[in-house]
C-alpha cells in the first residue's frame, strides 16, 4: 500500500481530553466535528473544571493514529476549545460510574449480590422488594467485569456514564 494514502492502520481506542469554554453551543460544535468528518464517538463526559467558565471534556473514540491526529487538529481549530490532548492509558487515571438495577429473587441472591458488590467496592444505593440498585466506580474493564457477574441475576436496567479521565 502506498504510504501517502490514508489507508487502514491498526484501530484502537483513544482517550481525548479537552478544556473548553463553558458557552452555549460548545457541545454542538464538538459533536459536529465528529459527525461531519465521520469520526466515531464512543463516550463523552463533560463537567466543570478547576477554572471558572471552563469545562473539561473527555471523549473516547476508536480509530487509527492518523484519524486521532485529525480529530485533535480539527477540535483545536474550534474557537471555543482551549486545549486538546490525547491521554495515554498508562499516564492517566480513568473512571466510569455505572448504576445497575438487578433482579433479586430470594434471600440467597440478595446475599450473593451484596458480597459481589463489596468485593468490587461498589455501593448498594437502593433496595426494593425484588431488586437492588448498585453503584460501581472504576475503570471500564472493572465495570465490564462486574456487569458480567450481574448478568445471571437478571439486569433490569443499567446505565454507565462513559469515561472521565485526568492525566497523572
Amino acid at each position: 500500500m502506498n504510504e501517502k494514502t490514508n489507508g487502514a492502520q491498526a484501530r484502537k481506542p483513544y482517550i481525548i481530553s479537552m478544556l473548553v469554554e463553558d458557552k452555549f453551543g460548545v457541545l454542538q460544535r464538538i459533536s459536529g466535528v465528529f459527525s461531519r468528518r465521520g469520526f466515531n464517538m464512543n463516550t463523552i463526559t463533560v463537567g466543570r473544571s478547576e477554572q471558572q467558565g471552563v469545562s473539561r471534556m473527555t471523549i473516547t473514540t476508536t480509530g487509527d493514529k492518523r484519524m486521532v491526529e485529525q480529530i485533535i487538529k480539527q477540535l483545536n481549530k474550534l474557537v471555543d476549545v482551549i486545549k486538546v490532548i490525547e491521554l495515554e492509558e498508562n499516564e492517566c487515571v480513568t473512571r466510569e460510574i455505572a448504576l445497575a438495577k438487578v433482579h433479586v429473587k430470594d434471600y440467597a441472591a440478595r446475599n450473593e449480590l451484596t458480597n459481589f458488590t463489596n468485593i468490587f467496592r461498589g455501593k448498594i444505593v437502593d433496595v426494593g422488594p425484588n431488586s437492588m440498585m448498585i453503584e460501581i466506580t472504576g475503570t471500564s474493564d472493572k465495570i465490564d467485569g462486574f456487569i458480567e457477574l450481574l448478568k445471571p441475576f437478571g439486569i433490569k436496567e443499567f446505565v454507565r456514564t462513559g469515561i472521565t479521565a485526568l492525566s497523572k
Binding site: K4, T5, N6, R29, R66, E69, K73, K77
Partner: protein, 572 residues
C-alpha cells in the same frame, strides 16, 4: 459611548472599513436598516436575492482581500445565505454574514420567520455567534471581523435578534483584540525551513504546487522568486489561479481533473513537491494510490489540520505561506550543493511547448476554447474574471492565462452554480476602476440572472460572457462519458432569449454565432459601461478535455483531439 445595537453594528462596519455591504431587508433586521439611513460611510447594495448578496460579498472579498459583508433578515432570508457561506468556507474567504433573528423572548417558539441559524451555520462557518445579551453585541462583532481574517480566513456568521438591535449598548470598539483560544501559528519553524531548503536543493525533479493560500497571504512574489531560484515548474490549483503569471516560462497552469496534461505530468513525476496553501482536494490528486508516487512532499499550510489530511507528507510546515516561502528562499540561498535538475527543466520546456495547442479554430458552431482564446487577447491586464460553475468554468480555467492574484475569481471547493454574476458585481464594487467579466454558462446564469438588476441599479457594470450550449454541459459530459450517453435532466429545453433578457433588465447585449464575431462583442462588453451580456452560441457537443475520470489516475487523462503531441510525450 451609548447607542442602539443597530447603530453599533453600523459603527462597527465603519471601523472595519466595510464601505460596501450587500443585503436584502426583512422584518427583524429593520432596526439595522433604519440605522443605515443617512450613513455616508457604508454603502448598501440591494441585491435581488440573499444568495446574490452573499456571493457579492465573496466577490468583494476575493477581489479586494478585505472582509466582505452581507446582511439578511431571519428565517428564509438567512437560509438563502447558506450556500454562499458554505462556498466561502470551502474556499477560505473572509466574509461576515449578519442576519436578523426573532426577538430573544420568542427564540425557540417557532416564531414567524424563525430558523435556527446558529445551528444551521455552525458546520459551515469558521465560527458563529448568536447574540442574546446586548452587552455581547459589540465584542461579538469585533471577534467576527477578527476571526474572518485571522490565520486561515473564512466566513463568520452573527445572528442578531431584533431586540438586541434596539437595546442600548456601550460602543467600545478596540482596534485590535487577542483571542487567546485562537492563536494560529504564523512563523515557520526554522529547522523545518532548513530541511525544506535541503530537500528542495537535493531534488532532481522539483515541483511547486500553489493553492489559494498563496493568494490570501499575498505570497505571489515570493512564489515566483522561489520557483526561479529552483528553476522548478509551478502548477496551480483552481484556487491558486492568479498566484503566478501563467505566461511565466516556469508556470504550467492548472493541474487536476481538468488541468493541463503537462501540469499533471510534472506533478506526478516529481521527486520533491512543495505544496503551498493547498489542501490536496480529490479534484487535484485523483486516485491517491497513484498520486506522485516518488515525491517527497513538503506541505506549507497555516491550518495544521490540512497537513496529512489527504496525503501523507515528508515535511509539514505550519505557517503563513508568505513567511514560509520567504524563509525557504533565504535558507535555499545558503544551501551550497544543489542537485542538477537540467534534464527536468528540458523535459518541462518540451512538455510546455507540446501543451500549447492551437485553439484559434475557426469552426462554426463556435468551439468554446476559441472564446477563451479571444478573451486572453482582449482582457486588459487589470481586468477581473469571474466564472460560474461547470464547463464554462473549466474551459476558462484550462485556457485562460491568469496573471495577477485576485483577478481570477471562481467557486472552487463547493462548485456553486450561480456564483459568477453576483461575485462579479461584488468585485466591481471593490474595484470600480477595473473591468469585470463573468464567464458564464446558460444554466448557471439563469440561477441568478435577477442580479443584472443590481448591476444596473447600482451602476456596477459587469459583462457576462455566456457559453450557451443549451445543456447543463458538465453533467451532460459525464453522462456521455460515464453513463453511456443516457442524458437525464440535462437538456435545457425552452430557454429565454438572453439578449432580450438583458434588455429587459436595462442592460445591453448581443448574440455571437460565428468565431469572427467574438472579439468585437468582447470589446463592446468591456467598454459598455452598463451590464452587458454576450450570448455565444457554442458547439453543444464540445466537452471539457483533457480530463481525469473521477477517481482516476492523474497520469491517465482522457485526451482531447488536440492533445496528440502532449499525449505522446507524457507516455514516454
Amino acid at each position: 459611548m451609548k447607542m442602539s445595537g443597530a447603530k453599533a453594528i453600523v459603527e462597527a462596519l465603519k471601523r472595519e472599513k466595510a464601505e460596501t455591504i450587500f443585503g436584502y431587508p426583512g422584518g427583524v433586521i429593520m432596526p439595522f436598516y433604519d440605522a443605515l439611513i443617512g450613513e455616508e460611510g457604508v454603502r448598501h447594495v440591494l441585491t435581488r436575492h440573499e444568495q446574490g448578496a452573499v456571493h457579492a460579498a465573496e466577490g468583494y472579498a476575493r477581489a479586494s482581500g478585505k472582509v466582505g459583508v452581507c446582511v439578511s433578515t431571519s428565517g428564509p432570508g438567512a437560509t438563502n445565505l447558506v450556500t454562499g457561506i458554505a462556498d466561502a468556507f470551502m474556499d477560505s474567504i473572509p466574509i461576515v454574514a449578519l442576519s436578523g433573528q426573532v426577538v430573544t423572548s420568542l427564540i425557540g417558539n417557532d416564531a414567524f420567520q424563525e430558523a435556527d441559524m446558529f445551528g444551521i451555520t455552525m458546520p459551515i462557518t469558521k465560527h458563529n455567534f448568536k447574540v442574546v445579551n446586548a452587552k455581547d453585541l459589540v465584542p461579538s462583532l469585533k471577534m467576527a471581523f477578527t476571526l474572518a481574517q485571522l490565520g486561515r480566513p473564512g466566513p463568520v456568521h452573527v445572528d442578531l435578534p431584533k431586540d438586541i438591535q434596539t437595546a442600548e449598548v456601550e460602543f467600545d470598539y478596540p482596534d485590535k483584540i487577542v483571542i487567546p483560544t485562537y492563536q494560529p501559528k504564523i512563523e515557520p519553524h526554522p529547522i523545518q525551513v532548513k530541511r525544506a531548503a535541503e530537500l528542495l536543493g537535493d531534488a532532481e525533479r522539483p515541483v511547486i504546487m500553489a493553492g489559494g493560500g498563496v493568494i490570501s497571504s499575498n505570497a505571489s512574489r515570493e512564489l515566483t522568486k522561489l520557483a526561479e531560484m529552483l528553476m522548478s515548474p509551478v502548477v496551480l490549483t483552481l484556487m491558486g489561479k492568479g498566484a503566478m503569471d501563467e505566461r511565466h516560462p516556469l508556470c504550467l497552469g492548472m493541474a487536476g481533473m481538468h488541468g493541463r496534461m503537462s501540469a499533471n505530468y510534472v506533478l506526478n513525476n516529481c521527486d520533491a513537491m512543495l505544496a503551498v496553501g493547498c489542501r490536496f482536494d480529490d479534484r487535484i490528486t485523483g486516485d491517491l494510490k497513484h498520486f506522485a508516487p516518488e515525491a517527497k512532499i513538503i506541505h506549507i499550510d497555516i491550518d495544521s489540520a490540512e497537513i496529512g489530511k489527504n496525503v501523507g507528507v515528508e515535511l509539514p510546515i505550519v505557517a503563513d505561506a508568505r513567511k514560509a516561502l520567504t524563509a525557504i528562499i533565504d535558507a535555499l540561498a545558503k544551501v551550497k550543493k544543489r542537485k542538477d535538475s537540467s534534464e527536468w527543466q528540458k523535459r518541462m520546456k518540451e512538455l510546455m511547448e507540446a501543451c500549447e495547442c492551437d485553439y484559434g479554430c475557426n469552426s462554426t458552431p463556435i468551439h468554446p476554447a476559441r472564446v477563451i482564446w479571444e478573451l486572453n487577447k482582449l482582457m486588459p491586464k487589470n481586468g477581473i474574471i469571474t466564472t460560474e460553475v461547470g464547463q464554462n468554468q473549466m474551459w476558462a480555467m484550462h485556457f485562460f492565462k491568469a496573471h495577477t492574484p485576485r483577478h481570477y475569481i471562481s467557486s472552487g471547493g463547493l462548485g456553486t452554480m450561480g456564483f459568477g454574476l453576483p461575485a462579479a458585481i461584488g468585485a466591481k464594487a471593490a474595484c470600480p476602476d477595473k473591468p469585470v467579466l463573468n464567464v458564464a454558462g446558460d444554466g448557471s446564469l439563469l440561477m441568478v440572472c435577477q442580479e443584472f438588476t443590481t448591476s444596473v441599479e447600482h451602476d456596477l457594470p459587469v459583462t457576462a460572457l455566456v457559453m450557451n450550449n443549451n445543456w447543463l454541459g458538465m453533467v451532460k459530459q459525464w453522462q456521455k462519458l460515464f453513463m453511456k450517453g443516457r442524458y437525464s435532466g440535462t437538456k435545457l429545453g425552452k430557454m429565454p432569449d438572453f439578449v432580450k433578457l438583458i434588455d429587459a433588465f436595462g442592460g445591453k447585449g448581443e448574440r455571437v454565432e460565428r468565431p469572427s464575431e467574438i472579439a468585437e462583442a468582447i470589446k463592446h462588453g468591456l467598454k459598455s459601461g452598463v451590464a452587458y451580456l454576450i450570448d455565444v452560441l457554442i458547439d453543444p457537443e464540445a466537452d471539457v478535455l483533457p480530463m481525469v475520470p473521477p477517481g482516476g489516475r492523474v497520469d491517465q487523462m482522457i485526451p482531447s483531439d488536440r492533445c496528440g503531441k502532449i499525449s505522446r510525450l507524457v507516455k514516454r
